[in-house]
């Protein structure tokens, strides 16, 4: 009952006119920031911090605004992923796999509606989880050590082989390429330069978001130029109204994806991208009938529910321990400190208005986002009706601006173009680009946790197998792989009869 009373008091805070206005404004800005390639929640939140100071907002209102932007970005990332095959931010990568094929079939409106509802389900379930179990879950999450995180990343990479439609060997090769590219730069634990060839510019390594924009946006434009030369066209516009019967198809996947994403979100050091990857690969294993990767609604619903649930989950370590579960929550924590609120285990007791006001605002933000996003589907799909000579240069301009706004370095524009050419070549060779980005994105964390585990054990690799949590994850991975082998063998049987 305590929780319900606190939540009720929280709604009283969130329903203040100023806070309601911030929720609506934040949701809209977030959706837009999320949809623009390159700009994601971290930048969105960081850009808005000076605004909160300029308006003289108090801590609760500031957090409400930033959280609304954060949730909004998670909704927005899917839009360009579905319509243009260009993920708006990292966690939306998985949404391109089935979202864009749906748009190609003229079902862009359906895909947007399915992913909008999935986002709503994921974020709402995560917020409910946050409301009911936050302190409990945070206590469980601290028992995750470096060896366990390493096991989690092993699981993610073990399942990557099956996530794309193309040859699993090519998928693994692409992931390896991403892992290799991820080693470029200064080694965080020792400061030693790796594969930088004496260039300071490479000390940063490759920023995953620059690689992502290059691989997806720039290569898309190269493809468009080539297709135009051969007389090809854009994707068909299709209906601008979603069919509600199709939304139902994604519901089961949304619930499953939410749970997986939520767990990934709670663990500081995992996060939304991992949540989306795991949700998609799990969904594909259990329900693929050869339709995934070709525009299956469940392949859109699962990762979107997953990454939204993970964002909600990431707020748990932030609020209960003062430890960021993602880059965005780290920025939000820094802002709390600026406002003289000390994050940490005592936040719930000392600032109940802030915590519960924020939680209540998240519920409201979810409804606002759903209400905002469903009618906008018509507007978004009209983007596909834009003449290509207008749309494509706009995409190029936004890509350049987005990357430069994040890195402030012209060198990174060259890196982006380099990745664009790499993406073009890889796609010509029928490689999926998703595993390249995942290798780059997740590889670094995987390596860091491996090295932490080995520092603890003094170099003894047995530590990786001594934690019961890690063993459970490895067992789960093995079961997962066995299940998918069994399923694919069963699936193989009838195919020769039906095909031809």
């Amino acid at each position: 009952m305590d929780i319900l009373n606190s939540l009720w008091a929280g709604f009283a805070v969130a329903a203040l006119p100023i806070n309601l206005a911030l929720i609506v404004g934040g949701c809209f800005a977030g959706t837009l920031i999320g949809a623009l390639p390159g700009l994601g929640p971290v930048n969105g939140v960081a850009i808005l911090i000076p605004l909160t100071f300029a308006f003289g907002l108090d801590a609760t209102s500031s957090m409400i605004l930033l959280s609304a932007v954060y949730y909004g970005c998670m909704y927005g990332g899917r839009i360009s992923a579905i319509l243009l095959n260009i993920p708006g931010d990292e966690p939306a990568i998985m949404t391109t796999l089935d979202g864009f094929p749906m748009a190609r079939k003229g079902q862009a409106a359906d895909a947007l509606a399915i992913s909008g509802v999935a986002s709503f389900i994921g974020a709402t379930l995560a917020t409910i989880g946050l409301t009911l179990f936050a302190p409990l879950l945070a206590k469980a999450a601290i028992y995750f050590g470096p060896a366990d995180y390493f096991a989690l990343y092993v699981m993610a990479f073990a399942t990557i082989g099956g996530i794309t439609g193309s040859d699993p060997r090519k998928t693994l090769l692409a992931a390896l390429l991403g892992l290799m590219l991820g080693t470029v730069g200064l080694d965080p634990s020792t400061g030693v330069a790796r594969y930088t060839f004496g260039s300071f510019n490479l000390y940063d390594g490759f920023d995953p978001i620059v690689a992502l924009v290059g691989l997806f946006a720039i290569s898309e434009i190269l493809f468009f130029l080539e297709a135009r030369a051969h007389g090809g066209g854009l994707v068909p516009k299709g209906s601008v109204f979603p069919r509600f019967s199709r939304i139902r198809e994604g519901l089961g996947a949304s619930f499953r994806g939410s749970i997986i994403g939520f767990i990934a979100g709670i663990l500081p050091g995992a996060g939304a991208s991992l949540g989306a990857v795991m949700s998609y690969s799990f969904e594909k294993r259990i329900s693929d009938k050869g339709t995934f990767g070709k525009g299956d609604p469940r392949g859109v619903a699962a990762p979107e529910a997953g990454n939204n649930a993970a964002s909600g989950g990431a707020l748990i370590p932030m609020l209960t321990l003062g430890v960021p579960g993602s880059g965005t929550t780290a920025v939000m924590l820094a802002m709390l400190i600026s406002l003289n609120i000390q994050p940490g285990p005592l936040l719930f007791q000392r600032s109940p208005d802030l915590v519960w006001g924020l939680v209540a605002a998240l519920y409201l933000a979810n409804f606002v986002l759903l209400v905002l996003n469903l009618p906008l589907i018509g507007l978004f799909t009209r983007v596909l009706g834009l003449p290509a000579w207008g749309l494509m240069p706009l995409v190029v301009a936004i890509s350049y601006l987005g990357v430069y706004a994040i890195t402030h370095a012209a060198f990174d524009l060259m890196v982006m173009v380099g990745f664009g050419i790499l993406g073009f070549v890889l796609r010509k060779l029928d490689f999926s680009l998703v595993p390249v980005v995942l290798g780059l994105l997740l590889g670094m964390d995987m390596e860091n946790n491996l090295r932490r585990a080995l520092s603890i054990s003094g170099g003894d690799f047995l530590i990786l197998l001594q934690s019961p949590i890690a063993l459970a994850i490895y067992a789960l991975t093995a079961a997962f792989l066995a299940l998918s082998l069994w399923l694919s063998r069963r699936r193989m049987m009838p195919i020769p009869e039906t095909e031809d």
């Binding site: 800005a29 837009l32 920031i33 623009l36 700009l39 960081a46 850009i47 911090i49 000076p50 100071f53 300029a54 601290i142 028992y143 995750f144 050590g145 470096p146 730069g185 200064l186 080694d187 965080p188 634990s189 020792t190 400061g191 330069a193 300071f200 510019n201 000390y203 390594g205 500081p268 050091g269 370590p317 321990l321 003062g322 430890v323 960021p324 880059g327 780290a330 920025v331 820094a334 400190i337 600026s338 003289n340 994050p343 940490g344 285990p345 005592l346 936040l347 507007l379 009209r382 009706g385 834009l386 706009l394 601006l401 706004a405 402030h408 370095a409 932490r452 520092s455 603890i456 003094g458």
Partner: protein, 321 residues
């Protein structure tokens, strides 16, 4: 058609607003991910500079993590050496790295502006740890250096690590390299890993993990300051327990090496005004920093001196030859 135009306009205005904002006025680079000490320095000082009307508009904070500040250093040295609008947050941690040759160039590459305060190092264990005092911990390390896993937010040879090594050396432990050290992405993650039983000791700045000290989730065995800190007067200093070791982590700024004398002096003056403001004195204290001012040439000399001392310590503990 009207819809299309409106959509385009909305997108255009939105994009223009987003990209116009970062272009305004002064910029502070935090050479770390958001949430850490350098990020805090940039955001606090940036906020106060703007509140005290010392700069026009807001100060944009850019996070440029990597290589314990080496990435930002290299970036400023190669691309923004003459940018008069730019300041970069740094601290004792950065000077440690320079002293050990882990930055692409030496301290003369940059112009050192000022320090505004210092954070105090602490040695902490979990609340249910068997170690009740610094003596007990150091005795255990002496008996078997590999028996206790220690951690902090810097890599091996970084300031968190060196402070602990200085204590170990003061306790007469010979096998310094036998002590296990784990790097985490900040004091907070290190403490939660300690609460989860992965590591037994955290060496960090007090400001980073203040929340856990207040909540009683960790036991502070020693603060590495001359006097007890004002915010937590009950925490024992290492000196009071017979170990003559202090480990301050000052917070300050540098700017590019090609910035003109006028622009350099203008920044020093602005930062001094900021230091003297009530806002800073209050902010510093409430976040566990002791306000200390050194600016201009005095600060540059201090950094040079500290770099030399740091190189000596690193040599003694075998981090560099």
């Amino acid at each position: 058609m009207i819809w299309k135009l409106n959509g385009l306009k909305v997108a255009g205005i939105g994009a223009a607003m987003l990209f116009a904002l970062p272009a305004l006025g002064a910029e502070c680079i935090a050479p770390a991910d958001p949430g850490g000490g350098w990020d805090f320095t940039c955001r606090e000082v940036g906020r106060l500079l703007s509140e005290e009307k010392l700069v026009d508009g807001n100060v944009q904070v850019t996070n440029m993590p990597g290589g314990v500040g080496a990435v930002a250093w290299a970036n400023v040295a190669s691309k923004r050496a003459d940018d008069p609008e730019l300041i970069v947050a740094t601290s004792t941690v950065g000077v440690t790295q320079i002293a050990q040759g882990k930055y692409p160039s030496d301290i003369g590459t940059m112009r050192w502006l000022a320090m505004l305060g210092a954070d105090v190092g602490i040695i902490a264990v979990a609340k249910d740890s068997p170690y009740e005092s610094l003596d007990q911990l150091l005795e255990a390390l002496k008996a078997d250096p590999a028996s206790v896993v220690t951690s902090g937010s810097t890599g091996a040879g970084g300031w968190d690590h060196i402070r602990l090594m200085m204590l170990a050396q003061a306790a007469g432990i010979e096998d310094l390299t036998g002590i296990r050290w784990v790097q985490f992405d900040g004091g907070g993650p290190a403490v939660t890993q300690m609460m989860g039983g992965q590591v037994q000791v955290v060496s960090a700045d007090l400001g980073e993990i203040k929340g856990f000290v207040e909540s009683g989730d960790i036991r502070v065995l020693a603060v590495l300051s001359d006097q007890p800190v004002s915010a937590f007067p009950d925490l024992p200093t290492a000196k009071s327990q017979g170990y003559d070791v202090t480990g301050y982590n000052w917070r300050g700024f540098y700017t590019g090496g090609d910035v003109s004398d006028e622009d350099y002096q203008a920044w020093v003056d602005k930062l001094q005004k900021l230091y003297e403001s009530d806002g800073w004195q209050e902010t510093a204290r409430s976040s566990g920093l002791e306000p200390i001012w050194r600016g201009g040439q005095e600060f540059a000399d201090y950094v040079a001196q500290q770099e030399k001392e740091m190189a000596d310590i690193s040599r003694r503990i075998g981090v560099i030859q």
